[in-house]
Symmetry: C2
Subunit: 251 residues, 2 copies
DNA sequence: GCCAGATTAAATGTCAGACAATAAAATGTA
DNA sequence: TACATTTTATTGTCTGACATTTAATCTGGC
């Protein structure tokens, strides 16, 4: 592990990269202890604060964990699916909000991915996952539910569907897509009528998944996507109309 | 933005979280300058090194960038698709390598996602993307190509297919899945015969995409997935056999 | 007045040394 | 042996300083 002290790049960034590369290459294996901060500072010929900045960078990516005390130190972390989820969700949300991604594009991506899981889910779903879907459908039907709570329940429902595929890699990849959509979905105000419509489609999907009827699941997801996009468009249109009226009044 | 000095959690981690939350909530917008390190230290009532550790954590996630000089400081970064993409690839690779994800599970996930893109790609692919696919097919047919180069070309081919969907969110989500598979794919040694087979399937896929024939693309991807898994199994079997023979000799 | 160069100021990057907090291991004692 | 105490290694944090970078400002000459 070497760094270039003459580079214009931060020393801490270089050190972080060197260690990260060593982990990716397998030179440092899971649960292995890194040298102490003092030893690393000595090795790279930098001060301890600089080493610490590098270690914090790695900790931010869940690549290492640190322990205090006599046998403490920095250890290569086993990257868990849950940690990776959390990071991916944060990243995806920011990506969508900062890059003016349209509702349509995000929605298309989300449903395309979800439909990829659907056939596997229809085949393998567990009773647990079916129960979760039913429970969320019930929750969504209750009056007095806020729009936020409705959306959150929607996410839970769809995550159960995705998890039904019984493929952790798929679940991980989709976590970002499904959850990142939530802030966009929250812009929609659901009328009692539209909630009814969505609950009906959810029920159809749950029924088809239970019956292991993949083609119907796919068809209903397509319907749901179309309906979701329609709702979003009506929100956008209504908003534009209000803006135009306001413009008219002031003029 | 507040922190709890009595918490057992690192101060730098708390500060990083406070700032991250502010960014996610939209309280800090893109390109906005954060207070200087000294001001942040003052605000949170900690020392400058502690603030710096927090900022490095955020920098590791591409949430901020720093500039030196008179008008320098830390700025909220516009998270670009490329940055998010790079992080996702690293995370996915580590996730797969550290969690003993089987080839089958990873392969299933990858092709399920890729098939989700295929219909959109068949509809929207640009001449550019078709040209890339053709070029990679040509490269894959050349003798003397190392297994690593063959795999790299494979990744480029499939990325062109995914990008053909013309949906940045989809491309981003799939980047991890496709590239994270590469280390696993690299375990396979390709015979001349198996390369021929793969190139033939790639050609069929490119033809079908060009002809905007989505069902055929889907069918050929299913074939390719089955063939890839067969190849991987034969590698595993051969390896097990060699190990058994070695065991027999020493016994 | 205007431009080029020198100066200044503000910010991050880095360092050195110190002390606090923690947790395990070593040690002492009943 | 069992338990309390001390030691020790390590990370967490602070203070203060200097180096480096960069833009803005000042200054002198034309």
């Amino acid at each position: 592990m070497k760094i270039d002290p003459d580079s214009t790049v931060d020393l801490s960034a270089q050190i972080a990269k060197a260690i990260r590369d060593a982990i990716i290459a397998g030179d440092l294996i899971v649960d292995q202890r890194l040298p102490s901060e003092a030893e690393l500072a000595d090795h790279f010929d930098v001060s301890r604060p600089t080493v610490r900045e590098a270690l914090k960078r790695l900790a931010a990516q869940s690549l290492i964990r640190t322990q205090r005390g006599a046998t403490g130190g920095a250890f290569v972390n086993r990257l868990r699916f849950e940690d990776a989820y959390a990071q991916q969700v944060t990243t995806s949300i920011l990506l969508l909000s900062m890059n003016a991604v349209s509702f349509d594009v995000a929605c298309e991506a989300r449903y395309a991915l979800e439909r990829a899981c659907a056939p596997l889910s229809a085949e393998r779903r567990t009773p647990d996952q079916l129960a979760t879907m039913r429970a969320e459908i019930h929750r969504q039907g209750q009056p007095g539910l806020t729009d936020e709570a409705f959306c959150a329940s929607d996410v839970t429902f769809h995550r159960a569907l995705v998890d039904g595929a019984g493929n952790k890699v798929l679940s991980y990849q989709l976590a970002g897509a499904v959850e990142a959509m939530q802030p966009l979905m929250n812009m929609i105000t659901f009328t009692a009528r539209s909630r009814e419509e969505i609950v009906a489609l959810h029920t159809d999907i749950a029924d088809a998944v239970e019956a292991q009827d993949a083609p119907t699941v796919d068809a209903k997801l397509i319907e749901l996507e179309a309906y979701t996009r329609k709702l979003a468009h009506s929100v956008v249109t209504a908003r534009a109309k209000r803006a135009a009226e306001k413009e008219h009044k002031t003029a």
